[in-house]
């Protein structure tokens, strides 16, 4: 069990492609940490550089205070679980779990006992003599986790751990993974492109884009106060509304000619901003009210317990989550009123301007 520190970690590929651009990150001992970002953002490269499977071209990796930047993967004392689980198909479940112990020259009887104990803890007790090909996807994943657990590494690195499972198994495995991490109290870093997975599992999330960390925070922080328009548009199961606006005075922001309340912000009049609000935080109505954006209903998407309505108006496209009971005919005119306390304002450079952080440095 150990903390992981990355100091100005860089990775530039021989062709000149920068995969990691001076990443600074501290992952606390026992923390469940997510690296989140779109494909190609460098999150997998970051994980592999921590593991030592990729060589850093600059900066340092410290695990438990030891500088491991120059160490080969086998001497970093970390375990990695791959997206495809990477089980050895010719070995039994027991031999797979005991493999790292065998490499570390643990005696046969001891490592078999250890494998059986770990398998039992993960509900694989009756499967020890099976081959990986005889197991379901979820069982294979647990074997891969057991193989990582059995030799008590200082940290777990998980590369897209849930993406090879079907939708229902994924939710089960997610809960299982979170419980397991709590019980083991092991430092755990996982990579995902699925923001819902990151929000659900992680203690803290680092959102990456283009080799740089765009925001680090708890799921609540990242969801409520995205630090920039990139994070704002990436996080959330429905995309955030990002609308061009101008500060008009008395705390309001004009969007498409409609003055909208935007809470406390302290920005000067005439400043051009991006007015951001999640579709969940807009009220939908059929009658014009002050502080509501008008638009014609052009798309209605059924989300199950709600519907996602797209309104096209002077301000551009605005998406609103509407309760399932409300009838929304296509082509009708609707009004979307943002909840002022949920409005975020971004400067023209894309950084969050308002609301201010509740506590300085938080």
């Amino acid at each position: 069990m150990a903390a992981i520190e990355l100091a100005a970690l860089s990775k530039v590929y021989p062709g000149g492609v920068t995969a990691l651009d001076a990443v600074d990150l501290t992952i606390a001992d026992g923390e469940f940490f997510a690296l989140l970002g779109p494909s190609g953002c460098g999150k997998t490269t970051l994980l592999r550089t921590i593991a030592g499977l990729e060589e850093a071209t600059g900066g340092a990796v410290r695990i438990g205070g030891d500088d491991v930047t120059a160490l080969p993967p086998g001497r970093r004392d970390v375990a990695m679980v791959f997206q495809d689980y990477a089980l050895f198909p010719h070995m039994s479940v027991s031999d797979n779990i005991a493999y790292p112990l065998r490499i570390k020259k643990v005696a046969g009887a001891e490592r078999r006992a250890k494998a059986a104990e770990t398998a039992g803890a993960l509900g694989l007790g009756g499967l020890l003599e099976r081959r990986p090909g005889q197991l379901s996807g979820g069982q294979q994943q647990r074997v891969a986790l057991a193989r990582a657990m059995a030799y008590r590494p200082r940290a777990f690195l998980l590369d897209e751990p849930l993406s090879n499972l079907d939708a229902r198994m994924r939710l089960e495995a997610r809960t299982f993974l979170k419980r397991l991490q709590r019980e083991l109290r092991v430092t755990c870093v996982f990579v995902t492109h699925d923001q819902a997975e990151a929000l659900a599992l992680a203690d803290r999330i680092a959102v990456l884009d283009d080799g740089r960390v765009r925001q680090i925070g708890t799921p609540a922080e990242v969801f409520r106060r995205p630090a920039n328009t990139f994070v704002a548009s990436f996080i959330g199961s429905t995309p955030m509304n990002l609308l061009d606006g101008v500060v008009t005075g008395d705390g309001r922001v004009g969007v498409g000619g409609v003055p909208l309340p935007a809470g406390e912000h302290g920005l000067p009049d005439g400043e051009r901003v991006t007015f951001a609000v999640r579709p969940e935080y807009l009220g939908y109505g059929t009658e014009p009210v002050p502080g509501a954006l008008p638009g014609r209903v052009t798309v209605v998407e059924n989300l199950g317990s709600a519907q996602l309505v797209t309104l096209d108006g002077d301000a551009g496209s605005v998406q609103v989550v509407v309760d399932e009971d409300v009838p929304v005919p296509l082509g009708a005119t609707g009004y979307a009123a943002p909840r002022p306390e949920r409005v975020l304002l971004y400067r023209r450079d894309g950084e969050l301007a308002a609301p201010e952080a509740p506590h300085a440095g938080a």
């Binding site: 080969p72 086998g74 970093r76 990695m80 990477a86 493999y99 099976r130 090909g133």
Partner: protein
Amino acid sequence: MPTDAAGLGRRRAAAFVAPALLLIAGFLVLPALWTVYLGATDYRLTGLAAAEPEFTGLDNVRRALDEDSFTHSLGLTLQFVVGSAVLGQAVLGFAIAWLLRGRRGVLRRLVEALVLLAWILPGSVVAFLWIALLDRNDGTLNGLLGTPGTAWLVEHPMASIIVFNIWRGTAFSMMLYAAALGTVSPTQLETARLAGASGWQQLRDVVFPAIRGHVLTNLLLISLWTFNDFTPFLLTGGGPSDETEIMPVFIYKTALFNGELGYGAALSVLMLLVNLVIALVYVRLLRQRARPAKAAERGAER
């Protein structure tokens, strides 16, 4: 009523296949049967037995098994196959493929081009090059090693043809293994590396189990090719004395130099049987691999 996908019907389909079957019968099956028949006669190239060969049954086979020259030749052939194919080409080919894996660019292309060149050059050209290389008086090897006057083909004839055949045939193993290594799961290798496995342990635990089928197929093919290879004759002519008289050379000399066509045919049939045994051993080994894999698939379906 035509029942096949193309709607030809049995009769027309047979007509389409007939020319190919005729060629196979005429140029493959008949000569083979003819060889089996000849092997049971005392047919000779010249003399009385050439005009009126007599049926002698299994006499030729009995003679082969009794005579030292046959067992001697068989022993030499095994040396040649094990030394140049199983140990030489397979090991060297794998080593080159392993070292070149993941490499791109000039070095890889250069090595591949050179190894391939040795493979695609005609045997007669290559043999001539090697005679020049190994020549006693002005040979390149003697020049390089500073050992003038060493007659490699006379003093170390078997070693010479083994090295020659390794040099000539490694390309096939290299290409087959290079393709096989591409199928090894990178994440399995990385899992082994993260566990601290050494290079050798990665080969033993990840690579070889994954490419076992490729290895066996490769060994089968190069064993049979090497067993039937006649090119060493161009270097040593089977000599000095009978020191490199491997099976194809022995048969050639028996049948055409000594004119004992009947005996030569019997030897050919024996050689075919040895080939069959080699093939059967490998096929048996390959099946052993396939069975647990199938069982695993069935288990997953349940």
